[in-house]
């Protein structure tokens, strides 16, 4: 064993959302002296604007921290930051696979939450050393004893080992660092050819793809020919190095280390998270275990508001994809909305981030259709089809069996909300409920739920019925047979393909009524009557009507009134440009979004 390896620690911080992960990461960086108090910008690792705003981490990042222990020994601590949302659980698993230990961060006031448990299980799966850290001990509402008890009872960990800290106030940070070097083991030595696990890749406009990886054996240096074992593509290494706050080139990366490789890979799509890098000249016989190709689970179409902006949207998506390998899209066209793209996402959060970034960072004015899951159909001909777009719903006469994806939801709540949450889950076609009572006063409810019901604003409702106390996590289960129908929405008798939805038969009428109601609220009055209808096949199951303007006229129009009148018209014209014409009906962007939301509360 070489000397340096015993002074390397690879670790990650895992936590429920808002328990202070990014703040702690920033403090560790500051303690390592990588950044002075003056330059200290909150949440250094969360680079993206949206990450900082939402307080969540979307992409994995790594940073190598120099640390001199209390005993005066020098260490290299590799902090691998993981995405904090269930949509990105595969990325999390690859980041964890690159570590030997984790800090399990728990908010001293909130205590253990659903994601705390989910994260703990994930860490245990990878056989990692787990250090419980109780954060936010400075809060007046902090209840350290209660959290210690939860650590013992809910998590089954030794609460005496829990480190107390306040990342915000900088309290206990050195204790955290000491615990990292004392409790987390150094990387294990593995002899043999190069095996480096890709846990992230991001795009740099000047250098192409920057691969973040952890070396399990061998070493790599500039000039080496590397091979990506997933597709056997070979590249020449241009640069290797480690992450400080910026990239710091290093003439080689060795076993146990975490760093980056630049090798002229054009886009992040040419790499796969979880893939193994080896040397072309001396390849490893087997890749590292655990590789999985991530597949989108939620689908929606995106269209430019103005049809002449299709090219611009197309360019924006190409650029977007440079840095988001999980996004898939292909051309799509809608009779109502024109040319656009069908996109696949890892989950709803992924979709929302996509939408926000497209609008904000890429200045695109877009309309997104209702998200859909992937349905499977067995046709009478015996053929199997997969449908992720209501437009391609098979002819009902040819459907033998329909299947939809199910998840196992795990919801952790204070006991008093049990009734409300049960009701919500049953209403969303939940089955197979199970209950765990991790601590007195708290309950974990598990349900098998159709993914489609979760995609449809489930989380908003959960937060409402539990007054913000409910936390939620889920895993994919399987496909189950289901009674599905296609709900068409018609405006003045014309089907609007972009508003069609695939729904369970029992939920079709309520959904149709609600969609009609929402559209009625969102679509402004026109000069003619607008009939909004929901239909299954040829049967109308819901309707609403928007009455036309009967009177909208200004009495006087003389000298000074004309400028005013024109300015108003110019404003209205602009507003109309942001609407989508379907037949002769102008539909505001907001209407497409509004149909997704049901009434909360």
């Amino acid at each position: 064993m070489n000397n340096t390896m015993k002074n390397i620690r690879n670790f990650s911080i895992i936590a429920h959302i808002d328990h202070g992960k990014s703040t702690l990461a920033d403090r560790l960086i500051q303690f390592a002296g990588l950044v002075g108090e003056r330059d200290f910008r909150d949440q250094i690792l969360d680079n993206m604007e949206i990450e900082r705003e939402r307080g969540i981490t979307i992409k994995s990042q790594a940073i190598t921290l120099p640390y001199v222990s209390r005993k005066g020994e020098a260490f290299e601590l590799n902090l691998i930051d993981t995405p904090g949302h269930v949509d990105f659980s595969y990325e999390v698993s690859r980041a964890l696979a690159s570590c030997e230990g984790v800090l399990l961060l728990i908010d001293a006031a909130q205590g253990v939450e659903a994601q705390t448990l989910a994260n703990l299980y994930a860490a245990m799966e990878h056989d990692l050393e787990i250090i419980p850290v109780i954060n936010k001990i400075d809060l007046p509402s902090a209840d350290i004893e209660r959290v210690r008890e939860q650590i013992e009872v809910d998590l089954g960990l030794d609460s005496d080992q829990a480190i107390l800290c306040s990342a915000k106030e900088g309290i206990g940070i050195d204790d955290v660092l000491e615990a990292i070097i004392d409790q987390i083991p150094p990387p294990e030595v593995e002899e043999g050819p190069l095996k480096a696990l890709i846990f992230d890749a991001h795009y740099d406009p000047f250098r192409g793809t920057i691969i973040s990886c952890r070396l399990f054996s061998g070493c790599v240096r500039p000039g080496d020919m590397i091979r990506l074992m997933y597709n056997n593509a070979v590249y020449r290494v241009e640069e290797t190095g480690i992450f400080r706050l910026r990239r710091e080139p290093k003439n080689r990366l060795s076993t146990g280390e975490v760093g980056y490789i630049i090798s002229g890979i054009k886009t992040v799509r040419d790499t796969r998270i979880g893939d193994t890098i080896t040397l072309d000249t001396d390849p490893a016989p087997e890749p590292l275990p655990g590789f999985k190709e991530v597949k989108p689970v939620v689908f929606a179409s995106v269209y430019p508001v103005a049809s002449d902006e299709y090219r611009s949207l197309s360019d924006a998506l190409d650029k977007y994809r440079l840095n988001d390998a999980a996004l898939v899209f292909q051309k799509d066209s809608s009779a109502a909305l024109g040319l656009g793209f069908r996109c696949g996402f890892l989950g709803l959060l992924h979709l929302e981030i996509f939408q926000e970034r497209l609008e904000r960072e890429f200045a695109q004015s877009i309309i997104m259709t209702a998200p859909t899951v992937q349905y499977r159909f067995t046709l009478t001909s015996g053929e199997e089809v997969v449908v992720d777009n209501p437009v391609y719903y098979p002819d009902p006469a040819t459907i033998e069996k329909a299947f939809e994806p199910y998840i196992r939801a795990s919801i952790l709540i204070p006991e008093r909300y049990m009734g409300a949450v049960m009701e919500l889950c049953l209403e969303r076609r939940g089955v197979n409920s199970r209950f765990n009572y991790p601590t007195p006063g708290r309950i974990e409810i598990q349900f098998d739920l159709p993914l489609a019901e979760v995609v449809y604003d489930f989380y908003d409702h959960l937060k409402t019925v539990t007054q913000g106390y409910g936390s939620f996590d889920y895993d994919f289960l399987d496909y189950r047979e289901s009674d599905l129908v296609k709900l068409d929405i018609l405006l003045n008798g014309e089907k609007v393909d972009a508003l069609a939805q695939i729904v369970h038969r029992d939920g079709a009428r309520p959904r149709a009524l609600q969609t009609c109601k929402r559209l009625k609220e969102e679509i402004p009055r026109h000069l003619f009557k607008i009939a909004i209808q929901g239909a299954i096949g040829g049967t109308i199951i819901a309707r609403s009507t928007i009455t036309p303007f009967r009177k909208d006229v200004t009495a006087k129009c003389y000298g000074g009134d004309i400028t005013r009148k024109r300015k108003l018209l110019e404003k209205q014209k602009k507003g109309k440009k942001r609407m989508k014409m379907v037949g002769s009906v102008s539909i505001p962007q907001s209407a497409f979004v509004a149909v997704l939301k049901s009434e909360v509360g």
């Binding site: 000069l527 003619f528 036309p548 303007f549 009967r550 009177k551 909208d552 006229v553 200004t554 009495a555 006087k556 129009c557 003389y558 000298g559 000074g560 004309i562 400028t563 009148k565 024109r566 018209l569 110019e570 209205q572 014209k573 109309k576 440009k577 014409m581 002769s584």
Partner: protein
């Protein structure tokens, strides 16, 4: 087409609570305004062709004393070039139309008087905050007729919640009994920053509802058309084409006009400008030989087209289809509007129907994709 001339007389005996025009009840400022006006005339006199309409409005022109009004008219007609047979209109308040005032109007070249009767119902008049009674209106009109005014207009207002349609039709009937050449029926607008706007916010007064206002509008139109009037613009009716307000039509067709006096608007060669809304500011600028202008705008082709569309579709004449055909997607918009019964195409013009008048603020939007 010859340009129009507008003179703004920014004085009233008292302010009506619904009115947003610039005027103040301070006769002491009349000399300042008058001096400013004479200076302003010098600034513009050579920049316009001879005028064929002169419109004195306000405010209340008849709040000036008859001598002053006579002096004003004389000055205007001698210092500004006019065509041979101009339309000369003065707006008048019923209780100002004394025998003396009528004589002054008659003697100073005025050939059209527009009387702000507003209603022949004392209840409505007091609700509107007018300082005259129904009988003042009748007396004023009779006086004008006796003096030989052959071209006369009456302004009427409706639109307050709870207003009675029958009573309104009675007001219309009274108006018709005088056989005025011109009638304007305005639905009350709650203009920003007026006492009425405040009362509305406080919930003490409200405009009538959409269906009521629709009924008033259609009944008015029907009643006046039955009596032989042409409903030639949303709020305007005339007893024959020769009695259309020649001056007001200039506003709707981008014919140049010069507006003199505080807050007056002018238009020429695609530029519109408007004067300061302050008598003192107006006076000091004019006195220094500066145009007393508060703002101006140079209209693009696109903006001119938008205005033509908006104002044209408020008139019985509509707009020429040549203009419509320049708009992208026009054919679909026209057929949609036709199908909804809001317009018709006649002699290559797009003409709003009665129901089209009712939604005139919306119709131009149908042409924007």
């Amino acid at each position: 087409m010859s340009p129009g001339l507008y003179i703004h007389v920014p004085f009233c005996r008292s302010k009506c609570p619904y009115c947003a025009f610039y005027s103040i009840p301070s006769p002491s400022l009349i000399p300042l305004w008058w001096e400013g006006l004479k200076e302003e005339i010098i600034l513009y006199r050579d920049r316009f062709d001879p005028f064929d309409t002169l419109y004195v409005g306000g405010g209340t022109p008849t709040s000036l004393d008859p001598g002053m009004l006579k002096r004003l008219m004389g000055y205007l007609l001698s210092h500004l070039k006019a065509t041979r047979d101009p339309e000369v209109t003065v707006e008048a308040n019923p209780q100002d139309l004394t025998r003396e005032m009528i004589a002054a109007l008659k003697g100073s070249g005025v050939n059209r008087v527009n009387v702000g009767v507003q209603s022949f119902d004392d209840g409505v008049l007091s609700l509107l905050g007018r300082n005259h009674r129904a009988e003042d209106g009748a007396r004023a009109i009779e006086g004008l007729r006796r003096a030989g005014f052959g071209n006369m207009g009456i302004d009427l207002i409706y639109g307050i919640e709870g207003q009675d349609l029958k009573a309104w039709l009675k007001t219309l009937g009274t108006a018709l009994s005088f056989q005025p050449e011109h009638i304007s029926c305005y639905e009350l607008t709650f203009e920003r920053k007026t006492p009425f706007a405040r009362l509305r916010e406080e919930g003490r007064i409200a405009p009538m509802g959409e269906s009521e206002a629709t009924a008033f509008f259609l009944e008015t139109s029907g009643r006046l058309e039955d009596a032989g009037y042409i409903h030639y613009e949303i709020s305007n009716f005339a007893r024959g084409e020769g009695y259309f307000s020649r001056h007001n039509q200039k506003y709707w067709h981008h014919v140049p006009y010069l507006g003199l006096g505080p807050s007056a608007h002018s238009f020429q060669d695609g530029r519109r400008w408007w004067n300061l809304r302050s008598i003192r500011g107006y006076f000091s600028a004019a006195k220094e030989g500066r145009p007393p202008v508060e703002g101006r705008e140079d209209l693009t082709r696109e903006q001119l087209r938008m205005e033509t569309l908006a104002t044209g579709l408020r008139t019985k004449a509509g707009v020429h289809m040549a203009l419509i055909r320049e708009l992208p997607g026009w054919a679909g918009a026209v057929s949609g509007l036709q199908a909804s019964g809001l317009v018709k195409v006649l002699e290559d013009r797009l003409i709003p129907t009665k129901r089209g008048f009712l939604v005139a603020d919306q119709i131009p939007l149908a042409f924007f994709q």
